[in-house]
Structure formats: structure tokens, C-alpha cells
């Protein structure tokens, strides 16, 4: 019974971590276009800022 309980606890913890990982992975996968545009825009902005 004790083993079952701790196994369940471990499973739920692993699932929770997997959920966080899945959310982050999906977010960055689906927003590649957004970040490509923003990184290049802000890259240019900061290069201008430092005078390059």
C-alpha cells in the first residue's frame, strides 16, 4: 500500500513536470515566427543603441 502511494506520488510529479515541459515546448514551437521577428527587431535596436 505504501509503495503504491509513493509510486502514485512520483507518477503525478513526473506528469506535472512533463506538463510544464510540454507547454513550454509547444509555445516556442508555435511562436517561432514571432520570436524570429522580435529577436531581429530588438537585435537591430540594441545594435543601434551601442552604436554598431
Amino acid at each position: 500500500m505504501q509503495i503504491d502511494k509513493s509510486g502514485k506520488r512520483l507518477l503525478f510529479t513526473a506528469l506535472a513536470v512533463a506538463w510544464c515541459f510540454a507547454v513550454a515546448t509547444a509555445y516556442y514551437t508555435f511562436n517561432v515566427a514571432y520570436y524570429t521577428e522580435k529577436i531581429s527587431t530588438f537585435g537591430r535596436f540594441f545594435l543601434t543603441l551601442v552604436g554598431l
Partner: protein, 644 residues
């Protein structure tokens, strides 16, 4: 500097006014001090806003508003005297001392203070968000120019009939200080909302580090950072929303009449900030019914006072309901207009289909995933930033005390369902209940963190995900700071700021400023669009109309037909010195969020078919990226030729 002094003085006055009422409600000293300060601020705002609402239609100038400020400052003094200042200083010292020995506490405080300071100071930058330019600030400017509060019917904007609880603070700020002060006052509500999120965590029995994490998670939401430096109202509403939750649970525990009164007072004020307050009110209904049913079988201490909250809220909004009934025949205007005015148009109809993937059950269930993970695809853009709320909120299931969240989550659930089916599914409207969700996320994150103690294989990926999202969110914070702080601190001129900062349709700063600088007293100008942005002189504008009937839009979706001949005759009679027109607008509603400029055509404005061919033959006297100003005499000469 004037803005900072004004904001500091206003904060002290708000708290001083509210603290006496809160002390009366909390006679047994049961509320924690943080909750009491937040409540005092929010309650103190109410008499100030109502006083402006009453006095403003008669007089809105330095004398009336200055007099009001002096009276309220005197009224705030007794409350301020009763505040335990020494206890506050000791609490700050104690917290600073604790932070030196606790790196997480130090990190959380450092983040909270840095982000709050940055967001507040950004409020000193020139206003450049569309809604503020269109009405949140344009209407107060109109009133200040006029010298009293009025409704510019000719703008044909339903927004000018919204209850203006927090717009009154912008009126006060524009009279006694400037737009920077107006924006900073609204930023203060962001701090109160974050405090509310923290106090909810404390109220439900968690330690204060988790409470501080909840506050931080709220302050770093992308839309919160953006709105705290504007006069937009979602964050302002969020502050009232979360404190209604706290007040409700205080009443639910004690059942006292003053606590029920406080709950109603905050709910009423919330509705006057934004009509979505009605949605929040409805969201409480099942919970109230459940608690009353339970109470009837038990101690019956709630039944006696349950009516006080809703009736107080009704009393608070009654002046607005009466005003709307007189003006439009619909007390809830523009809500439910087909019900109150069956023969008149539904001015907000069809909004629910603007965003989202559809209206089915699967769409309802998948929307949190879609607006968090695919915000650029189906919703109103990158409102939340990284999807940390989506990742962390479900982790509440890991917390042993998760059941105590059910009442709070019932409010969220009903609000969400109504948002989905009846509102425009703009994610920024969900910021109004975000302080609850950030509290849930903080507890969830802590639960998972504790569970992964000693499990390197699980802790490592968790840390990786959290660090990536934290750095990314920091980049959003940095981007806003990089754009707005230089202008706020005076390192960049307003003209340069507006030229380089993306805004939906631009702020018309150059063209409006040209008109403001060249228009003499008594002269007028014609605007070929119905919204007159904040930077333009408001009262001298002829807003896209030549008809005396400026209220036609309440009765019909299409304006009265006016022939070219009639139009030209009216224009000649009005003799505007300038014509301002929108030439294009920008949109970033695409997957990359890249600005796309869309040209406006003759069919995009009411008199475009008459004016655009004329503008095409002339050189503007002032021109911005999105708008242009033409000389009135030149335009009239060509219009005459067209008629002849």
C-alpha cells in the same frame, strides 16, 4: 516631478479616506494589515471619483478640482493619523532582515520592487496606446478644454457612455498635473491588484513567500506591465475584482453587515470601472446561493446580511443606471440594447466571434491552451507573454489544500464561461481575474517544487523550463522598459518616441500637435474620422459630421445620407481651418507580430468618397506615418470646384 508629487499625494489621500471606513468595517482588527491598506486605497477612491462625477458637469478646472483635493486631503487626515506607521517601519525592517538570510525571499522582493518601479515610472512616457488616445484620455481632455464634463455625441463612440469611474482620476490629473500623473495613478491599481493576489494566498493559509510569488507572477504578466503605464482599465478592475474576493470571504466567515457592505461597495465600484463588473457580479451568484443554502442548515449568520452586498452594489451603480436610462433608454447601455431598445441597433453585437477558434464545447475547453500557447493565431496577441500561468495553475492539483480553492475557482470558472460566450474573447479581459490565477499558480508552483526535492531527474527539467520562461518574461519587461523609460525620463523627446514606438494606427502626435500649435481661439478643424485622438485639440474638432443630429448612431447603424452638395455647403458654412485625415493604420495581428501598414480608402470613412479625391490633389501641411493635415481653404476651393 509634478506628476510624482501628485501621484504620491493622491495615494496618501486615497488611503487616508478609505482607512476610516475599513477600520469601521474591521472593528475587531481581524484583517491583516496588507489587506487593510489595499482596501483603504480602493475604498478611498470611491468618494473622490463620485465627487468628480457630481461636480465635474458643473465645473472642471483648477478651482473646482483643487478645492476638491484640499477638502479630501483634510478629510484624509484623521484616517492617516490612526495608521500604525511605526508598525509598518518595523515590518519593513523585519522583512529586509529576513531577506538577507533567505535568497528566494530576496529575489522575490528584488523582482517585485524592480518591476513595480519600472512599470510605474513608464507611466510618465507620453500616452500611445489606442484606447487611451481614442477615449480614456481624449474624453477627459475634451472635458478639461470645455471646463465641465460633457458627452461629445458627435464622436459616435459608444465608449463615451461607459461608466467612467477611473476616467475621473484622469480628469483630476489632467486638471492638476498631466497625462503622466493620470497613467501613474492607474499604475497604482496594478500594485493593489498584486497585493490582493498575495493576500488571497495568505487568506487561504499559505506562507508569505508564496504570497509574494503570487504578487510577482501578477506584476510580470505582459499585459499588466503594459497597462500599468497607461490609463487602460483591466488592471484597475483587477484590483477591485480581487478585493471583492477577499471581502466576500471575510463576510462569509464572519457574516457581519459592515463586511457585506464592503463587498457590495467594491463590486459596485468594479462595475463602474468596466461593465464586465456585471460578469463578476453574476460569477458570485452560485457561490452566494451555495453558502446561503449551507447557512440555512447551520448557524444562519449569513442569511441576515446577504442582501446588503448586492443592494450596496446596486446603490453604487444607480446614478449611472439612471443617467443611461435618461440618455439612451437602456440603463445597462450598450449591454442588452436589443432587450431595452428593440427597434435600435445592437452596438456591441457580434463581438463574441471576433477572436478564438469557435464557439463549441471543445473550443471552450481548449481556449486556455490556445490563448496561452497560440496567442498570435486566434486571439488578441501576446497578452500574457510566456505561458507560465497555463503551466503552473493546474499544478494546484498537487497541493494538499487544493479543496479550499474550490469557492474561488467557481468565480473564475463562471467568469471564464461568460467571457467565452458573451464577451469578445479578448485575453486582456481575463487580466481582470488574473490576480486569482496568479495566486493559484504560485501555490501550484510551490507544490511541485516541494515534490521534486531530492529528485534531480525531475528537478532539472523543471528548473530548465522555469528559467527559460523567466528569462523570456524578463525580456518582455526589458523591451517595454527599453521603449518607454527613455521617454518617461526625458532622455527621448515625445516626437521621437511616437515616431519610433509601434502603436495601432499611430498616435497622430505630429499632425495633432501641428493643429494644436496653429489653431487660434475660435477656429475649428474637420476630422474625417470619428475618433479624435488625445493629442488633437478636442473641442474645436468637427468630428466627421455635418448634421445637427449627432445622436443618429443610437438609432441606426447607417448614418443619414448626405449628398455632395449638402456636404460641401455645410463645410463652407463651418469654415474649418484644417482637415485631418487618417491615411493608414498598422496591424500586428499576424503570426510574427510584425507591423503591417494598411492603406485606408474612400470607403473607410463617412465622407471619404468626397474628401479623398480632393486630398489626393493637395500637399499636406503636416504629415505623419498614419495621418495628414490639409489646409482648409485649399480643400474648400477644390470641393467647390467638384460641386460646380
Amino acid at each position: 516631478m509634478l506628476s510624482l508629487v501628485f501621484v504620491l499625494a493622491t495615494t496618501i489621500i486615497f488611503i487616508g479616506l478609505g482607512v476610516s471606513i475599513v477600520r469601521f468595517v474591521d472593528r475587531d482588527d481581524l484583517l491583516p494589515e496588507g489587506e487593510r491598506i489595499g482596501l483603504a486605497f480602493l475604498v478611498g477612491c470611491i468618494p473622490v471619483s463620485f465627487a468628480i462625477y457630481l461636480i465635474g458637469p458643473w465645473r472642471l478646472d483648477e478651482i473646482s478640482m483643487g478645492g476638491l483635493a484640499v477638502v479630501f486631503a483634510l478629510l484624509a487626515l484623521p484616517g492617516l493619523k490612526t495608521m500604525p506607521w511605526r508598525r509598518y517601519i518595523l515590518a519593513i525592517r523585519r522583512e529586509a532582515c529576513a531577506a538577507t538570510n533567505d535568497k528566494w525571499l530576496a529575489l522575490l522582493w528584488a523582482t517585485a520592487i524592480t518591476v513595480t518601479a519600472s512599470s510605474l515610472i513608464q507611466g510618465l512616457a507620453p500616452p500611445n496606446d489606442f484606447d487611451s488616445l481614442m477615449y480614456h484620455l481624449a474624453l477627459p481632455r475634451y472635458d478639461v478644454e470645455l471646463g465641465y464634463m460633457s458627452i461629445p455625441w458627435d464622436r459616435e463612440l459608444v465608449q463615451f457612455l461607459f461608466p467612467g469611474f477611473s476616467i475621473n482620476f484622469s480628469r483630476l490629473a489632467l486638471v492638476l498635473a498631466d497625462s503622466g500623473a493620470a497613467q501613474m495613478i492607474h499604475g497604482l491599481f496594478g500594485i493593489i491588484a498584486a497585493l490582493g493576489s498575495a493576500m488571497l494566498v495568505r487568506k487561504l493559509g499559505y506562507e508569505h513567500r508564496i504570497a509574494l510569488l503570487a504578487a510577482v507572477l501578477f506584476l510580470v504578466i505582459r499585459a499588466v506591465i503594459w497597462q500599468m503605464a497607461t490609463v487602460e482599465t483591466d488592471v484597475t478592475f483587477a484590483a477591485y475584482g480581487i478585493f471583492t474576493v477577499l471581502a466576500y470571504f471575510s463576510w462569509n466567515k464572519e457574516g457581519s453587515a459592515p463586511q457585506a457592505f464592503l463587498f457590495g461597495l467594491l463590486l459596485g465600484a468594479g462595475i463602474l470601472i468596466k461593465l464586465t463588473g456585471f460578469v463578476l457580479a453574476v460569477s458570485y451568484a452560485p457561490l452566494i446561493l451555495f453558502h446561503i443554502a449551507k447557512d440555512l442548515m447551520g448557524p444562519k449568520h449569513l442569511v441576515r446580511t446577504v442582501w446588503i452586498g448586492p443592494l450596496t452594489a446596486l446603490a453604487v451603480i444607480t446614478p449611472h443606471l439612471i443617467k443611461m436610462t435618461i440618455l439612451t433608454g437602456n440603463p445597462l447601455f450598450p449591454l442588452l440594447n436589443p432587450l431595452f431598445n428593440p427597434d435600435k441597433p445592437d452596438l456591441i453585437g457580434g463581438l463574441e466571434t471576433l477572436n478564438g477558434t469557435g464557439m463549441g464545447l471543445f473550443d471552450l475547453l481548449s481556449a486556455p491552451w490556445n490563448f496561452s500557447v497560440l496567442p498570435m493565431h486566434y486571439f488578441d496577441g501576446m497578452v500574457l507573454g510566456t505561458p507560465y500561468l497555463l503551466a503552473l495553475c493546474p499544478l494546484l492539483l498537487l497541493d494538499p489544500g487544493r479543496r479550499r480553492w474550490l469557492p474561488v475557482l467557481s468565480i473564475v470558472l463562471i467568469f471564464y464561461v461568460i467571457w467565452f460566450y458573451k464577451l469578445s474573447q479578448q485575453v486582456r479581459f481575463l487580466v481582470q481575474i488574473a490576480p486569482i490565477m496568479t495566486a493559484v499558480a504560485a501555490v501550484g508552483a510551490t507544490a511541485l517544487w516541494k515534490r521534486t526535492e531530492g529528485m534531480v531527474l525531475l528537478k532539472a527539467p523543471l528548473v530548465l523550463v522555469l528559467v527559460i520562461m523567466a528569462i523570456n518574461q524578463l525580456m518582455f519587461i526589458g523591451a517595454y522598459a527599453g521603449i518607454r523609460l527613455p521617454a518617461a525620463l526625458g532622455l527621448v523627446s515625445a516626437a521621437t518616441f511616437h515616431e519610433k514606438t509601434p502603436a495601432m494606427g499611430g498616435a497622430y502626435y505630429k499632425t495633432c500637435t501641428y493643429i494644436a500649435e496653429n489653431l487660434k481661439p475660435g477656429e475649428r478643424y474637420f476630422a474625417s474620422f470619428s475618433w479624435i485622438f488625445y493629442y488633437c485639440p478636442q473641442v474645436p474638432a468637427i468630428a466627421n459630421t455635418v448634421s445637427e443630429d449627432t445622436k443618429w448612431w443610437l438609432d441606426s447603424m447607417t448614418p443619414p445620407a448626405i449628398s455632395r452638395q449638402e456636404f460641401v455647403e455645410s463645410i463652407i458654412a463651418a469654415d474649418p481651418k484644417y482637415f485631418i485625415t487618417a491615411v493608414s493604420f498598422s496591424s500586428r495581428r499576424n503570426l510574427s507580430g510584425k507591423t503591417e501598414t494598411i492603406k485606408l480608402g474612400a470607403s473607410d470613412s463617412r465622407f471619404g468618397k468626397y474628401l479623398l479625391p480632393v486630398f489626393g490633389q493637395l500637399k499636406p501641411v503636416s504629415e505623419g506615418r498614419y495621418s495628414a493635415v490639409y489646409d482648409g481653404k485649399e480643400v474648400i476651393t477644390l470641393l467647390r470646384k467638384k460641386v460646380n
